[in-house]
């Protein structure tokens, strides 16, 4: 069942991406002031949203683990964090490449970029913590606690565009601005690409969760073998 879901999601994502890439390169015109480089936004923003949403989803799973004690939630939390870090890295790297042309610099220390990098560092610390603990219950408990703290920082990232004057472009999506900041065709494609990337992310999470379950099985069989 899970394998069918993974294959289905991957195929769906592939088809949607193929269509989106056709639209991005052959249908949409160049942006008035940025030229061709603006097309990076179609991966930069969806990857950013996927990463940020992922951290909150991991928070939910962490809280569910702490309340229920079911290791499946712990596996899901760890998998979601790992995949979110990957997409956050995609966000940061594509953003840097865009910035090199538009701002002339690879990186700037304005609050938005700094907070995005801090998120990656916090959840990177989450993964390091998991590797440092061998005992499964302790590992699940402590990493759940850390992910709750980590999500407080994600909130600061979300709010940073409104709180502080920043070099990063302000909000453009209609759900935040009420419209008028971005061409509707571009905005539609942004959401379409977000769905494609979300499908890829879910497929990766499902694969990773299965691997966590296998690792737990190996651990319990080892204990059984040692007990015998």
């Amino acid at each position: 069942m899970r394998e069918k879901l993974v294959i289905g999601l991957s195929l769906g994502a592939a088809l949607l991406l193929a269509y989106n890439l056709y639209e991005i390169f052959l249908v949409l015109p160049d942006e008035a002031m940025q030229g061709a480089i603006y097309r990076i936004i179609f991966f930069h923003v969806p990857a950013a949203i996927t990463g940020m949403v992922g951290y909150f989803v991991a928070l939910v799973f962490s809280v569910l683990y702490l309340t229920s004690g079911n290791f499946r939630y712990d596996s899901l939390a760890a998998s979601v964090v790992e995949v979110s870090i990957v997409f956050s890295l995609v966000n940061i790297v594509t953003g840097s490449i865009w910035a090199r042309i538009i701002w002339g610099i690879w990186w700037t220390w304005d609050y938005r970029l700094t907070s995005a990098l801090v998120c990656v560092l916090i959840f990177g610390g989450y993964l390091m913590l998991r590797r440092a603990i061998d005992e499964p219950t302790q590992r699940a408990r402590l990493s759940a606690a850390l992910s709750i703290f980590g999500c407080v920082d994600v909130v600061i990232v979300w709010k940073s565009i409104e709180w502080f004057r920043t070099q990063h472009p302000g909000p453009v999506l209609s759900i935040r601005t009420g419209g008028g900041h971005i061409d509707p065709a571009m905005e539609r494609l942004l959401y379409m690409n977000f769905y494609a990337i979300l499908m890829i992310a879910i497929a990766l999470v499902l694969i990773r969760t299965r691997q966590e379950a296998t690792a737990r099985e190996i651990d319990s069989l080892r204990r059984l073998a040692n007990a015998a």
Partner: protein, 248 residues
């Protein structure tokens, strides 16, 4: 202060909620008093942290000209980096000193609530870090010729707020990493990214104070960030203390 809390706990006219709160506070202060008494006797954390702070200040004086205008611009940042790095040495010892002779298990098994234990450790960290900050400020003033005493009340308020934020984060993650084999490595890796918003706020306000500029709405905004950070992380730490410390 502990006596005052004890008195408040035992009078019948005190409402039950306040009595419970006072009891927790009394327990926390007892833990802090114990830690500070041990620290005063052995001085292991303070000596190490103090020496480390002075070493960093010395090394930075080689990295750039300490009397240049640019150095004064960076003064706030330098100070808070010193406090954060040296503070990690203090936080590492916080729960680790309870490991020998199963003292931590004994404390957890006692009637002391885990949140009181955590709060006590945070109070202890707070006092030790404040002491370290005072020493560092004196040395800093001499090495870098910075007149940090020009706005004493504002600086004291800033140090209290920011140091509490660092202390509570240091205490909760000291508890989280206490049983890990790579404790000394994991604690800094985990706490420094979390402390970044607080450090930025503290640095911005310190830069203004050390440059003898007036406090504007911009600095007050950062002050609010500090207050929010303190409240949120204290609440989270107290809520998750039992989850982190008790092996279920």
């Amino acid at each position: 202060m502990i006596q005052a809390c004890y008195t408040a706990c035992t009078r019948s006219w005190v409402p039950p909620e306040l009595r419970t709160f006072m009891k927790s506070l009394r327990q926390a202060l007892s833990v802090a008093r114990k830690d500070l008494a041990i620290e005063l006797r052995t001085k292991e954390s303070l000596n190490a942290a103090g020496a480390f702070a002075i070493a960093i200040l010395l090394l930075f004086s080689f990295a750039f000209d300490p009397f240049a205008e640019a150095a004064r611009e960076m003064a706030g940042g330098l100070l808070w980096l010193v406090f954060a790095f040296a503070g990690a040495l203090i936080f590492n010892r916080g729960f680790a000193r309870e490991l020998p002779n199963e003292c931590l298990e004994t404390l957890l098994a006692s009637p002391l609530s885990t949140s009181s234990l955590l709060l006590g450790k945070a109070f202890g960290n707070f006092v030790m870090l404040l002491a370290l900050e005072l020493i560092s400020l004196f040395v800093f003033g001499i090495f870098y010729d910075v007149r940090w005493w020009l706005h004493p009340l504002e600086l004291a308020a800033l140090c209290a707020l920011a140091t509490w934020g660092i202390s509570i984060v240091g205490a909760i993650f000291g508890a989280l990493t206490v049983n890990l084999r790579l404790r000394e490595l994991m604690l800094p890796v985990i706490i420094y990214p979390l402390l970044i918003p607080l450090l930025i706020a503290a640095i911005e306000i310190t830069d203004t104070l050390l440059a003898n500029r007036p406090i504007t709405a911009y600095e007050l905004l950062w002050g609010r960030v500090l207050v929010v950070f303190d409240i949120v992380f204290t609440a989270l730490a107290l809520a998750l203390a039992e989850t982190i410390l008790v092996n279920q």
